[in-house]
């Protein structure tokens, strides 16, 4: 792999850009791999990359039914933060956020990590108490975040209206090293680095069945033929239930649609991310000047990658009260992604009832921020055959033992 650098740009400029090579290979699938990862989104590609990089397991294939990063990796609002209440969540999300800090250098691919700060608004008394509690928990967990007053919030976000009347801003949780990244670039960067280490990324290859014998998983059936493997890891977010059914078990997840939309581009008006959980409005401004707005999730199962109209209306209506400036903006595009929600709104990284088969799913509405840490922890688990400290609390066993990692109550909403 030729490294990307300022010198490479100068060199290629001098020869009319004829020397750029393909970022990743597109090989035909081999008959057999040591590990097959299903799903070439951020989490799947990161898993494959860290398997090769950290554990020396390079005989790996990543299978993708559509195109790389075309699911939720390309559909989210790119928010990165780690100010979670529960210790287990704080550990894996902070690992993830800290990996994002140097990911561009590590992957030699500009993922445009922008630690512009994430502000979570408290707009009810309940949220006010919850964010104060979270700020204390973050301090104990070593995560830099603080509770800020409405006056400070007005200072951070000039365009905000804190007075209400319906949803006044009472305070907020401010994580200065949270922010955003270029979501496609995260998938592309991991794909390029993984491909360079020998990982086969096979797109337009849908898994149609899971092969198993008495001792465990033996391979998968795909639209490009049968492929054998010693270990199988499914990292398919909204389609997790479909893959689990192929292997003969159920998961504690439900797939629902989550929506986002962007406005027409305008001059810079805000330089941080604002999350208003009470009203399900999440907003930041992209480098192109568009306001990127995330909405709430639908309440019923859905695989159509589009959501209900009323959720757009509810989201925009609430945001207009908090940001009156956006009331005359035109919205350019709206889209949906299928997110896999667990009962406690925490992810699942663990072994499945089928020996040799692992699952990484249940990130719900907040998976993008977790990509590096999730891949890191999942690679540990697949390499060792059992999860290490980072992933261990997120096993499927917790739904039998009642050992929930309850971020649902902590945030009062899915997030």
């Amino acid at each position: 792999m030729k490294r990307y650098s300022a010198f490479a740009i100068a060199r290629e400029a001098a020869r009319h850009h004829t020397g750029w090579e393909r970022a990743w290979a597109s090989p035909a699938p081999k008959d057999r791999y040591e590990v097959i990862v299903v799903g070439a989104g951020g989490h799947g590609l990161a898993t494959a990359y860290y398997l090769a990089k950290n554990h020396g397991i390079r005989n790996v294939a990543v299978l993708e039914k559509g195109w790389m990063g075309g699911g939720n990796t390309g559909r989210n609002t790119t928010i990165i933060r780690s100010n979670y209440l529960q210790d287990e969540s704080a550990a894996i999300f902070e690992k993830s956020r800290s990996l994002y800090e140097t990911l561009s250098q590590k992957l030699n691919y500009n993922i445009m990590f922008s630690p512009r700060g994430v502000l979570m608004l408290a707009q009810t008394e309940h949220e006010l108490r919850a964010w104060k509690r979270t700020a204390h928990a973050n301090r104990l967990a070593g995560i830099k975040s603080e509770f800020v007053s409405p006056r400070r919030i007005k200072d951070i976000v000039k365009i905000i209206e804190t007075k209400g009347p319906r949803y006044p801003v009472l305070g907020g949780l401010w994580q200065p090293r949270g922010g955003t990244a270029r979501h496609d670039a995260v998938a592309w960067g991991y794909a390029r680095a993984a491909s360079d280490l020998g990982v086969d990324i096979i797109q337009q290859c849908e898994v149609t069945g899971v092969d198993r014998d008495a001792s465990g998983v033996t391979g998968v059936q795909t639209t490009k033929g049968a492929i054998k493997c010693a270990k199988l890891c499914i990292v398919v977010a909204g389609s997790s239930g479909v893959l689990a059914e192929m292997a003969g078990f159920r998961l504690p997840v439900e797939s629902v649609a989550l929506q986002a939309l962007v406005s027409e581009p305008i001059k810079p008006v805000m330089d941080c991310v604002v999350m208003a959980n009470t009203v399900h409005g999440y907003m930041s401004q992209s480098d192109k000047g568009e306001l990127v707005i995330g909405g709430g999730a639908d309440g019923y199962n859905n695989y159509t990658q589009r959501g209900s109209f009323q959720h757009i209306e509810e989201t925009v209506r609430a945001l207009i009260e908090t940001f009156p400036l956006i009331s005359r903006l035109k919205m350019l595009r709206q889209w949906g992604g299928i997110v896999d929600m667990t009962g406690d709104r925490s992810p699942i990284i663990g072994k499945t009832p089928v020996p040799g088969m692992f699952v990484n799913c249940g990130w719900g509405t907040g998976g993008f921020k977790a990509i590096p840490g999730s891949g890191w922890a999942t690679a540990e688990m697949v390499a060792d055959g059992a999860p290490r400290a980072l992933a261990a609390p997120f096993s499927l066993d917790r739904f039998v033992e009642g050992r929930m990692i309850d971020e649902s109550v902590a945030a009062a909403v899915a997030h």
Partner: protein
Amino acid sequence: MLMLTCPNCGVTAEETEFEPGGEAHLTRAATDSTDEAFRDYLFQRKNPRGVHFERWRHAYGCGRWFHAARCTQTLEVFGTYTAQTSAPPDRIQAAIQARRPDWSLT
């Protein structure tokens, strides 16, 4: 937007008049059940891509619960029926089979 007909009061309305209540026909775990049975009742879900049976409540109407048969892939509603049953009635199964010949109740 989904259009649902409440079988209790007969009103046909948009989905905003109703509240979704999750998967229908779950078997409630009794108090002396195993941990696994409680897991199955509380968390484990079919989550199918295709025909699905679910609970809805006519929240801004008569306030009562009912069941709906719906496709999660196309958002087509096959029909609604009373909540006072442990399996979808023949009428609903026939309506689904008319639209999905390969489908059968498993």
